[in-house]
């Protein structure tokens, strides 16, 4: 078991149960409804950076989450969380994100 590695990483631990949040609490993702569920769901096994690189359609996000459950050991989400996560990803990491980024740079 590898929990001893936490000490090596120089973990700073609060004695009482209050979270010490990193500077970018959700890996730099936009603070919008669904960000919390998305962040926790998607960074259990891999870095959130794998998510924040993407720009996918809603259908493609659905497919991705299905694959995560089917082959990558992810626990299926409850419907409310699932909708929240898919909605968030489709909005902020959608297929049009490059176009949006360019448009917003021009303004």
């Amino acid at each position: 078991m590898r929990i001893a590695a936490f000490v090596l990483a120089g973990a700073v631990m609060a004695a009482s149960a209050g979270p010490l949040v990193a500077e970018e609490e959700f890996g730099g993702m936009p603070a919008a409804p669904g960000v919390e569920e998305t962040f926790y769901t998607c960074s259990t096994c891999h870095s959130i950076r794998l998510v924040t690189q993407q720009g996918l359609s809603r259908e493609s996000w659905e497919e991705t989450l299905e694959w995560m459950v089917a082959e990558q050991e992810m626990e299926p989400l409850e419907p409310a969380d699932h909708n929240s996560v898919i909605g968030y990803l489709s909005t902020y990491y959608g297929i049009d994100r490059r176009a949006k980024a360019i448009a917003s740079e021009k303004n």
């Binding site: 590898r2 990483a9 209050g18 990193a22 996918l56 082959e71 297929i95």
Partner: protein, 436 residues
Amino acid sequence: MENQDQHAKVPADLMQRYEDNPEQADLEIFGRKTGGNRRGFLKGAGLATMGALIGTAIPFHRNMPSGFIPEALAQSAMEIDGKDGLSVLNDRPVNAETPPHLLNDDVTPTSRHFVRNNGIPPENTSADGWSLTIDGLVGKPMELSIADLKSKFEVVTERLVIECGGNGRAAFDPPAKGNQWTLGAVACSEWTGVRLRDVLQAAGVKDNVVYTAHVGADSHLSGKEGKLAISRGVPIDKAMNPHNLIAFGMNGADLHPMNGAPLRLVVPGWPGSCSQKWLKRVWLRDQVHDGPKMTGKAYRVPGYPVEAGQKVPKSDFEIIQAMPVKSLITTPETRTKITGRSLKVAGHAWAGDDAVARVDLSIDFGATWIQTDLASPANPYAWQRFGAEVSFPMAGYYEVWARATDTQGRAQPFGIAWNPKGYLNNSMHRVSVYVS
């Protein structure tokens, strides 16, 4: 924040208590109730990043208490030990590419070789005690130590290109799914090892073998016991190419831990995923291998040209074989400013299972082309250096484009042949030059 100045020690029996009863440990140590169906019991970026820096899975991450967020890990940039100047795309699993101008060396130094991990590298990457199993449909299964490999087979050293199948994915429009490599998931280091062919021949390849299957010691991101992160293979004809190495040396020294220490396959000319890292086993099969990242759409492209963004049925995808011809301008760096009217341009070119016949440069968006001096490869599957001096007619903004053509007459395209997973982008590399 109220807790910021508290530095508590991790209880000495933390591990044991979590092993015995995670929920109870969480309650007692952190005063926190966990469990139930709350996924990803994490707050903050710390856990995932911590796992990456530690380089291991964290089996009880679902029971990780809040409050375990190392401040040092709040940074988005990440240094990788033994690597220099790489651009980190992802910290768990670790994926990092090399900016083109840092790939100028004919032989890519270990510190500049890109890193592409699918899972978590093994903790122990020592050559001592490492064993390689050769089995499946062979006459004589073998278990070999690295010392055995060195003593029983001819040791060779070759410069071999490894390129990620998804190199260039970032340029896809609409975006394709996966690590958004730009230009730098490619390298040509000097590899020392024994020929895969020689080892397979010693084991005796049975007549009905069609494919190899490769297994490494890296573990799946989920931490699930025994689950492989990746296990690909190649058709037996490709496997028997004399330039495939079971490599234990990289640039005259041990392999970098992130590049597959102490033993890996190097199967040049095909996607890097054929070059299994932390190699433990090669087995021979009478069917196309179906390990993780061999099936579905992984390392597959549609069997026919598709429109950008087209939805393609899974059954229409085919496994990628040789990588296409490609080149990289490594000098000058893009966005270079010069005051003179001439500039030395140089870089490397490579071409899957073929060699590069010529490399041409253009400074006028492809209207006219300047042929470069092109070196022969040091050995098959090494990249080839090209160079030319280009002259600019006047001050202004220019792009220098490089276009390689292989020995079968196939050149790099102007655009991208879009495919859903973003593979095989061999469109031309362009660097910008400001001439004043």
